[in-house]
């Protein structure tokens, strides 16, 4: 799901009342997760609310609404903004670089996973020439932990291999990418486990 699509979505309680609508998506300081949402009231002339919705209080984030248990899940706006990226800079417009020094493009949207855990799984970027996609917008996956420095975001070079323009299949691309990053460390761990299991078997005999 694209973060820019979440804006204006209604915030609905499990009792079926629409208590607000999403104003802005607030990213946590590490950029890898959401801190929450700022809110506008519902209705034609409604302006910004003094309350915000922290990510921890979100019951469900769907195509048509953001669901909360009860309207008292909303907290004072500053509580959510306090967890945000303190530089105040929106991640949109940031440059994406690989750790081997290639400019991949600039961020135009943030992709939020809708599977088991809902967190930031990738970016949509206006691609640079280096990606060879003719400057089109593409999706690029993020690792579990992200290095952020100033206006630039640094990704492992392997991310280039998982660039796609298919949002429907993007979840799978993210998993493949993260498996690749974890690949060598998990192989070592399972080899160690096998070795110690063999030792145990010999002792029993």
């Amino acid at each position: 799901m694209r973060a820019t699509e979440i804006v204006k979505r209604p915030v609905v309680t499990l009792s079926g009342e629409d208590v607000a609508q999403v104003k802005d998506v607030v990213y946590a300081a590490d950029r890898g997760t959401l801190a929450g949402f700022t809110l506008n009231g519902r209705g034609l002339l409604a302006g910004p609310l003094k309350t915000s919705l922290p990510w921890s209080a979100v019951h469900g984030l769907g195509r048509d609404a953001v669901m909360i248990g009860h309207h008292d899940a909303l907290v004072p706006r500053d509580d959510v903004l306090a967890q945000a990226d303190s530089s105040g800079r929106d991640v949109l417009g940031s440059r994406v670089l690989t750790d081997d020094g290639t400019d991949l493009g600039t961020v135009v949207d943030v992709i939020i996973g809708t599977g088991g855990t809902t967190d930031v799984v990738g970016y949509e970027i206006d691609s640079s020439e280096a990606l060879g996609k003719g400057g089109r917008k593409v999706l690029i996956p993020l690792p579990d932990t992200l290095a952020v420095s100033g206006e630039n975001l640094i990704l492992p070079a392997a991310a280039r291999d998982f660039v796609t323009d298919d949002l429907a299949g993007f979840g799978a691309a993210v998993e493949e990418f993260r498996k690749r990053l974890h690949g060598s460390s998990t192989r070592e761990a399972s080899q160690r486990r096998e070795a110690s299991e063999q030792e145990d078997r010999h002792e029993v005999q």
Partner: protein, 143 residues
């Protein structure tokens, strides 16, 4: 039985054999997924709500109650739940995950105990046990 079939049905008091009025709507308690009252247009006198517990039978042709007085003026929880803004037919259906399934076209209920069996929607049919809430914006159901 469906809401659409039962709407407009005549209510008769067995004590007097009088026609009390007719059904204009249904009040659903989402917590128990049951019809807890009927909304009534009364032939004479005050009152617009008939609690399910006062029904003798929800018959195929006519609804029976003992006394006409059983149709009361709604107050408290029945007043809140029976309010027009909580009308279930026509309301959008949202899952607890935030995805819209469609709008409620009709409700299938058990005339014996008032249990909501299913919501008939413009999308998939939703089993009554999935009912979580009925509000002014949406009916919320388990995913």
């Amino acid at each position: 039985m469906r809401f659409s079939e039962a709407e407009g049905r005549t209510i008769v008091a067995t004590e007097s054999a009088d026609t009390v009025g007719k059904i204009t709507g249904f009040v659903v308690d989402p917590g128990t997924a049951r019809v807890v009252a009927l909304r009534v247009k009364k032939a004479h006198g005050e009152g617009d709500t008939l609690p399910w517990s006062d029904l003798i039978a929800m018959g195929a042709d006519v609804v029976t109650v003992e006394k006409a007085m059983s149709v009361q003026v709604a107050h408290g929880q029945l007043l809140e739940q029976g309010h027009k803004r909580h009308e279930i037919v026509g309301k959008r259906v949202l899952t607890e995950r935030g995805d819209e399934l469609g709008r409620v076209r009709d409700v299938d209920f058990d005339p014996g105990d008032g249990r909501v069996r299913a919501l008939v929607t413009t999308g998939e049919e939703v089993d009554g046990v999935r009912l979580m809430g009925v509000g002014s914006y949406a009916v919320v159901v388990r995913a």
